[in-house]
Every structure is written in structure tokens, then in C-alpha cells.
């Protein structure tokens, strides 16, 4: 994902490792309005399989609206969203099968156990009980919570809940994972654990990840970057190129130059 390409071109226009590969996620000319307010204006970018794409934007940039469109929570007003080539608007079933998502607000049932939460999610994807139980046990083991399987989610820490949500998002074995500011409200260690876990998913399982954040220190060289500001994509491409194009030394400065933001949005350690 470090191949040079002009910043004005969609990222997939540049030959990547596999030019024939269908993007894990393709956003093409998407606009969205809430009454008179324009939340997204002609947004286009791609996420490749086995890549980590950071969607960088301040609060109110339109990140959550975009997530709601990708997950078909909201109807797409204009433009197209494709997941591995399946149009979310026209063929949501096939598209959503391949998608795992971790929303910014917690969406676990606090009064149910960890396993019950996972089994419910499996059922929503039509996964039979026996298979679901096996996959749940396996995922709980991977996130180190197998001994808490029967506890109520309410008793978990914030970091553990997030890990559980990520495990849940992986239960139906998606090939694209969306995470909307997943580390908000977590302590340093929990943040690091989660970032490491998600990056492993990219390298070991080839999952395409779209990671929305406003925290610059979560981005690493080699990541793809999409800078979203007031509903518009200001820059996209490999991180090094975005920084170079902005004539900056680091992401923080590049972001401020691009958006004209006066202050650091916080968390950029």
C-alpha cells in the first residue's frame, strides 16, 4: 500500500499488490444530508483487503454518518458503497455478510453473559447453535476472556468490553472490519492491546480494516489514510504520501495544514 499515486486519484487507481483485487470497501461519490445540513459531500475512497486504513477526522467530520451508510443503517442518498463488489444499496445481504462492525457506542447487552451476547450475534447471521457455540468459545479464548464466558458483560472493564465487541464482530468471519473510534474512553494499556489485536487481524488473517479515529498516535507508517473534514475527503493515500503532499513532517501537522485546524484535536501523543 505504499506505491506512489497522485493524491487526486482514487487510491485503487494505482496498481497495488494485486491490481485485479476487488476492494474490500469502495466508497464512490457518497453524499448525505440531514435536512439542510450536508454531512457528507462526494466522499470517495477504497479500503483494500489486508490493509489498515485510518479514517481521520474531528468530531462532526461525518465519520459516524459514513459508518451508518456502510452498514445500511441509513439509506444511501447518492453515490455507491460496495463491500467486495457487492452494492450495499442493491444487495445488502451479500455485502453485510462480509462486514464486521464495532460501533462507537457500546452495543452489548450488559445483563447477558459474554457467551449469550456472542450467540445472539451468531443467530443474527444465521449461524446454527452448535457452530456458534464453538466459534464463541474459540474467540473468547483468543481475547483471553474464556474464563469470563458466563459472567455478565456489566462486570467487564471498558477494555474487555471492546475486545468482546471486536470478537463479536469477527464471529461470522467477515473480510472487512469497521471500527468507529474503538479506543475512546480506554486506558493506555487497553488501547495498545486493541490496536495490536486489530493490526494482527490485518497481517495474519488478511482482513481489510477501516479504523475511524481522531487520535494521531493510533496511525502507523504504512497505513492508508483518509482525512475527512466537514463531510469532505481532503486527502487520501498512504500515510507517507499524505504527509509529503501536505508539506509536513508528521500526521499531526499534515492534518492541521489540510483542515486549517488551529489546535490539536487531542490524543496525538
Amino acid at each position: 500500500m505504499t506505491s506512489p499515486a497522485p493524491i487526486t486519484e482514487p487510491h485503487d487507481a494505482a496498481p497495488g499488490p494485486d491490481p485485479a483485487a476487488v476492494p474490500a470497501l469502495s466508497i464512490d461519490g457518497v453524499s448525505h444530508t440531514y435536512g439542510p445540513r450536508r454531512a457528507l459531500i462526494d466522499v470517495s475512497f477504497n479500503v483494500q483487503p489486508a490493509s489498515f486504513t485510518a479514517l481521520l477526522g474531528l468530531n462532526g467530520a461525518g465519520k459516524s454518518t459514513l459508518f451508518s451508510l456502510i452498514t445500511r443503517l441509513f439509506g444511501i442518498q447518492s453515490g455507491r458503497v460496495g463491500i467486495f463488489g457487492h452494492d450495499v444499496g442493491k444487495n445488502p445481504g451479500e455485502a453485510l455478510r462480509l462486514l464486521g462492525v464495532v460501533f462507537q457506542p457500546r452495543t452489548l447487552d450488559l445483563d447477558l453473559s459474554l457467551t449469550q451476547n456472542l450467540l445472539y450475534h451468531a443467530a443474527l447471521h444465521g449461524i446454527g447453535r452448535r457452530e456458534a457455540a464453538a466459534r464463541s468459545a474459540e474467540l473468547l479464548e483468543r481475547i483471553g476472556l474464556e474464563e469470563r464466558a458466563g459472567s455478565k458483560v456489566r462486570d467487564l472493564s471498558g477494555g474487555q468490553m471492546r475486545r468482546l465487541e471486536i470478537a463479536r464482530a469477527l464471529l461470522h468471519r467477515p473480510r472487512l472490519l469497521l471500527l468507529d473510534e474503538p479506543t475512546v474512553g480506554l486506558d493506555v494499556k487497553a488501547r495498545a492491546d486493541i490496536i495490536r489485536h486489530v493490526r494482527q487481524l490485518v497481517t495474519e488473517q488478511g482482513i481489510g480494516v477501516l479504523w475511524a479515529t481522531h487520535l494521531f498516535d493510533e496511525i502507523m507508517p504504512g497505513d492508508d489514510l483518509v482525512v475527512l473534514h466537514q463531510g469532505k475527503v481532503l486527502a487520501r493515500g498512504p500515510m507517507s504520501r499524505v504527509i509529503a503532499e501536505a508539506g509536513a513532517q508528521d500526521v499531526n501537522t499534515a492534518f492541521m495544514r489540510l483542515t486549517g485546524a488551529q489546535t490539536m484535536p487531542g490524543g496525538g501523543a
Binding site: 476487488v22 476492494p23 469502495s26 464512490d28 440531514y34 445540513r37 454531512a39 477526522g57 468530531n59 462532526g60 467530520a61 465519520k63 459516524s64 454518518t65 459508518f67 451508518s68 452498514t71 445500511r72 443503517l73 441509513f74 439509506g75 455507491r80 460496495g82 467486495f84 463488489g85 457487492h86 452494492d87 442493491k90 444487495n91 445488502p92 445481504g93 451479500e94 455485502a95 453485510l96 455478510r97 462486514l99 460501533f103 462507537q104 457506542p105 457500546r106 452495543t107 452489548l108 447487552d109 445483563d111 447477558l112 449469550q116 450467540l119 445472539y120 450475534h121 451468531a122 443467530a123 443474527l124 447471521h125 444465521g126 449461524i127 446454527g128 447453535r129 468507529d180 473510534e181 475511524a212
Partner: protein, 282 residues
Amino acid sequence: MSSIATRETPRGFSVQEYLTCLTGIVWREGLRFLHQRERFVSALVRPLVWLFIFAAGFRQVLGISIIPPYETYILYEVYIAPGLMAMIQLFNGMQSSLSMVYDREMGNMRTLLVSPLPRGFLLFCKLLAGTAVSLLQVYAFLLIAWFWDITPPPSGYFTVLPALILSGLMLGSLGMLISSGIKQLENFAGVMNFVIFPMFFASSALYPLWRVQEGSPYLYYLCEANPFTHAVELIRFALYGQINWVSLAVVAACTIVFMIGAILAYDPSRGLARRGPAGGEG
């Protein structure tokens, strides 16, 4: 994005997958309900207050003649029991549907709606799950009512089940349709005043309609046109092993219309957008 629509043909979903999804949603709703003991207790206390206090007080005031499906003179308590069963479902339907549209359950609705199965089916499952919860409430009520001398024939407990499922679905869909249509709905009190109470009082739940007709013909027509009346009558007849065909037709037709309307009108962006420009955005 020429790549779109060039992928392998959709494989769709098997009946097994639909059934797994349906049972999963109902199972979760049941589990959640069992954890919410306060909701269970308040759902039971409401009809019991009507039964123990209101009905006892009005027993002497309201004489009930022999009307179908009853074959003998009955106590007033016996008359209003089906109305109270429907009331449980009315409250439950409004409550669960409101929480589906407004943000209280928004997180859980997100989890539900990212399921790849068709959205209409998911909402149908959710309505069915709400109905299942109302069945638990109704049967718990019937159990307590049995000790209060409300003793329908034993087979009535089975024959009433299909009627309860249908009326539960109708009231749940109505709740969902209403909550989609109202812009400003700050709390449950508004629905109580403008939907639940008028529907409940302008029905055959508390008094036979022939008595209403004596008092006010217009109110009588209003009651006759009220789908809730037909839900009550459907339940009343079914509890005694009979079918009120007119009520069945009305309830079935209303269920279909309300449900299609509710599914078409359901828009999750409302629950999120209501938080204002800053809140829902990230």
C-alpha cells in the same frame, strides 16, 4: 466502481438461516425480559390493580347480561379479564416499539440491523419477540387471575394463544407505526394520553358495547371502529374456545396494514439524528 455487481451471484439465505435468526431474536428478548424484573412486575401490577380494585368496586354498578361467548351470568371481573389481557399487550407493544425507534435501544437496534438478513424480516422478528414477551406477561396474569375466580375452560388457555399472538403483533406494529410518525415524542406519557388511554377506554375492554350504545351511539361507532375492541373480542371468544370471525378479520387486516406500514416507515436515522448535529456524529 465497475467492480460493483461483477461479483459472484448472491447465494441468498436458507430457511434454516431465517429460523436461526428468528429464534435467536426471540431468545434474546426473553432473556432480557427475565433480567428486567421491574418491567415484569409493573406489567403485572397494572392489570391486577384494575382487576382487584376497579373491577371489585364496579361489580355492583355494572350488571352484565348474558352475551356471547358467555353462557351464564358472569362477574364483572370475568368480563374485563380479556380486556386486561389486551391491555397488557397494548402497553407492551407501545413500550417495546417506542424503544425500537427512539434511542434507548438504539445500540441494540444497530446490532440487529447489521445482520445481513432482510430488514423487513428483522423487524418482523423483533415484533414477534415483543409479542412473545407479552405472552409471558399475559399468562402470568392469567395464573394470578385464576385464584381470583377467573376460570376459563382449561382448553381456553390453549385456544387463546393464536389470538394473543395475532393481537400482540397488531399492537406492536401499531406502536412501531405510531412512533415512526410522531416527530416530537419526549416520553411515554404522550403515548399514554393520546394512544393507550383512548384506545383502551373507547373499546369493549371495560364495558359491553351494547351498554355504550345506550349511552351514546357515536361513541358506540367509535368503539366498533377501534381495532383494540376487536383485539379484545378476539381474545374473549378465543378464551372460551370460540372464534369471533369479524374480530379475527379486522385484527388480521389491521396487523397486515400496520406491519407493512411500520416496516416501510421505520427509519433508524431518526433515533440517531434526534440527538442533534453533534451527538450522533463522530
